[in-house]
Every structure is written in structure tokens, then in C-alpha cells.
Subunit: 146 residues, 2 copies
DNA sequence: GCACAAACTTAGGTAAGCCTAACTTTTTTT
DNA sequence: AAAAAAAGTTAGGCTTACCTAAGTTTGTGC
């Protein structure tokens, strides 16, 4: 399946691409590099699929890849990856404020993060900081859903 | 594409299935019936694709379909469709409170609605009613994003 | 430095969900 | 009621993103 979509994502910005870039940046930040095997394990997909996608991301200028060697994000790739990561964090924070179970948060954020446009993200960002400033509003959520 | 996904949706609950059911219920509610051609126009896909999906939904017990004739939602199908519709409305309401542009709202809701679990939905529901009760909190959003 | 293991790549294949083109059935028009 | 139009169906294809199996390259242990 997972094919599906009405409005095409901007060339080379499918949800799959976003997931890869996000994970690659995370690996680089934590381990200093991102190998095929790590990306594969981390995303729970085969190494073959990773190789394939990495070659595509190279062709699209998101990263520089040398066969059997390794990869580095380009400026464009890193910028994009950072934005994706920031969106992920913001959404996670927002749902955390609502007192949701960490597993539910992870699941939902992973699903919806690819569909939040910049204006919506900004609004949620503002809302999140408002809520943090008035914790009284959140009492209703404290013993919340799991 | 859209083929993608880590955790499989419960058999017969892909985002495509949800979109079809949602639209079918909407058509039934407004016109009294849902024909292939209307579903196709409304979802901006071909009639052939609709025929195909309807046969699948029939096989899965979501609706009763008679070739060349018409369809009716089963109890299961209608219940599911109502839940999907409610989730859509709730998310739309929430984003409306944040002052977002209607087109942005439509786009984002259509993308993310399929990925919101019940607990998260309940939390957003509670939050929405809190915000409605304290409009002061929303002043920051009034001249919001477009 | 050679053998083995781990990492990586290639080739070929699958499933979902969409498409177009061609055909069939139903409905409308006259 | 026959012809034309509209609706619906079938067949065959495409793309994305995944997979497995088999082969290649790199790295490790002795």
C-alpha cells in the first residue's frame, strides 16, 4: 500500500523521505555518523531499502553518498532535516502537555508530523507556550488517557 | 507511493479506506445516496478506482454493494464512518480556534486525521472546550497565520 | 595476509492505490 | 422504442516503498 496521496508532496518530500532524513540527522547527532545498517535498524526496514533511498536522496541533493563508504548531509539536507526534527519535537511537547501516554504520543506524532503545515505548526507552538504559562488549564488532563 | 508504513492499519483501515467511508457518509447525509460518480468527483479520483474500492469495502463488510445499482453502509461501516467524520470535525474545530486559514485547515486535517488515536482525540476535545471557555487565551492567534 | 564476518549493493518481486482505455449497463432523450 | 449519453465495470499498467536472495566490498581476528 503505502502509496497514497492526493496532492503530491514537493518533489522528493514524501513521508518516507522525511522519515529517513529525520533519522539520519538523529544518528549523526548521537553517534557522529549514519551508516546504512543503523538507519535500517532504527527505521525497522531492510538495508536494501535504505541503500536505495540513500541513492535517491543523493540524486536529489539532500546528501552526499559514496558507495560502501558513507554519507554526509548537504546544507539543504541538513536544513530540511532540522525542520523536520523541530516539528517532531514541537508536536511531542504539545501532546506531552496534554498528559498523553508516551507510546501514544510517539505513534501519533510519527503519523501526523508529515502533514502539519508551517502555519499550523506556528499556531501549535504559540498554544504550547501559552499552556505552559497557565498550567491551571491543564489540570483536566493530568490523569489523562493512556 | 503511499505505501508506507511501519505499523499496519487494522485490516481494512488504511487512510484510503477512511477517506472513502468518510466521503460516502457525507454524500449519503447530503444527497441521500452515494453514487460511484459522485464519490469519484468528490475525492478527485477516477470512477474505476472507486468501483474497485467499493468492491473491497463490500468484501470487508463495510457496505452492501450491488453492481450497477448502488450501495448502503452496513452498521459496521456507518459506525466507522461516523467516528471518522467526528474526528475530522473535531480537528477542524480545534484548528479553527487557532485562527488558521480555512484552506490550511482543510489540507492539514485531511493529512493528519488518519493518524490521531482515540486518547489524543479525547485530549484535543477537552482542550478545545477549555479554549472555547477562555477566549482570552486565543487573542494571540486572532490575526494568525494564513 | 587470509579467512570470515559484517556491511553494503543489486536484481527481481510484491502490494496498495491510483490511472487510462475499452467495454457493459442503465438512464435519458426524442 | 431506439439512439445517445451517462454511469459503472474490467483489464492492464504505473509508481512508491517495501521485501528477499544473491553477490560484492570492507573490516576483523588470528
Amino acid at each position: 500500500m503505502p502509496a497514497r496521496r492526493k496532492s503530491r508532496p514537493a518533489l522528493g518530500r514524501s513521508t518516507a523521505v522525511e522519515d529517513y532524513l529525520e533519522r539520519i540527522l538523529e544518528l549523526i547527532n548521537t553517534k557522529g555518523y549514519a551508516r546504512v545498517v543503523d538507519i535500517a535498524t532504527s527505521l525497522k526496514i531492510s538495508q536494501a531499502s535504505v541503500t536505495n533511498m540513500i541513492q535517491r536522496l543523493d540524486a536529489e541533493g539532500m546528501l552526499k553518498y559514496e558507495k560502501y563508504r558513507g554519507l554526509v548531509l548537504t546544507t539543504a539536507g541538513e536544513t530540511l532535516a532540522r525542520n523536520i526534527a523541530r516539528r517532531h519535537e514541537l508536536l511531542t511537547e504539545f501532546l506531552q502537555l496534554l498528559g498523553l501516554d508516551p507510546r501514544v504520543i510517539e505513534h501519533d506524532v510519527e503519523g501526523m508530523e508529515h502533514h502539519i503545515s508551517p502555519p499550523t505548526l506556528r499556531a501549535i507552538e504559540t498554544l504550547t507556550s501559552q499552556l505552559r504559562r497557565r498550567p491551571a488549564l491543564l489540570t483536566k488532563f493530568s490523569r489523562a488517557a493512556a
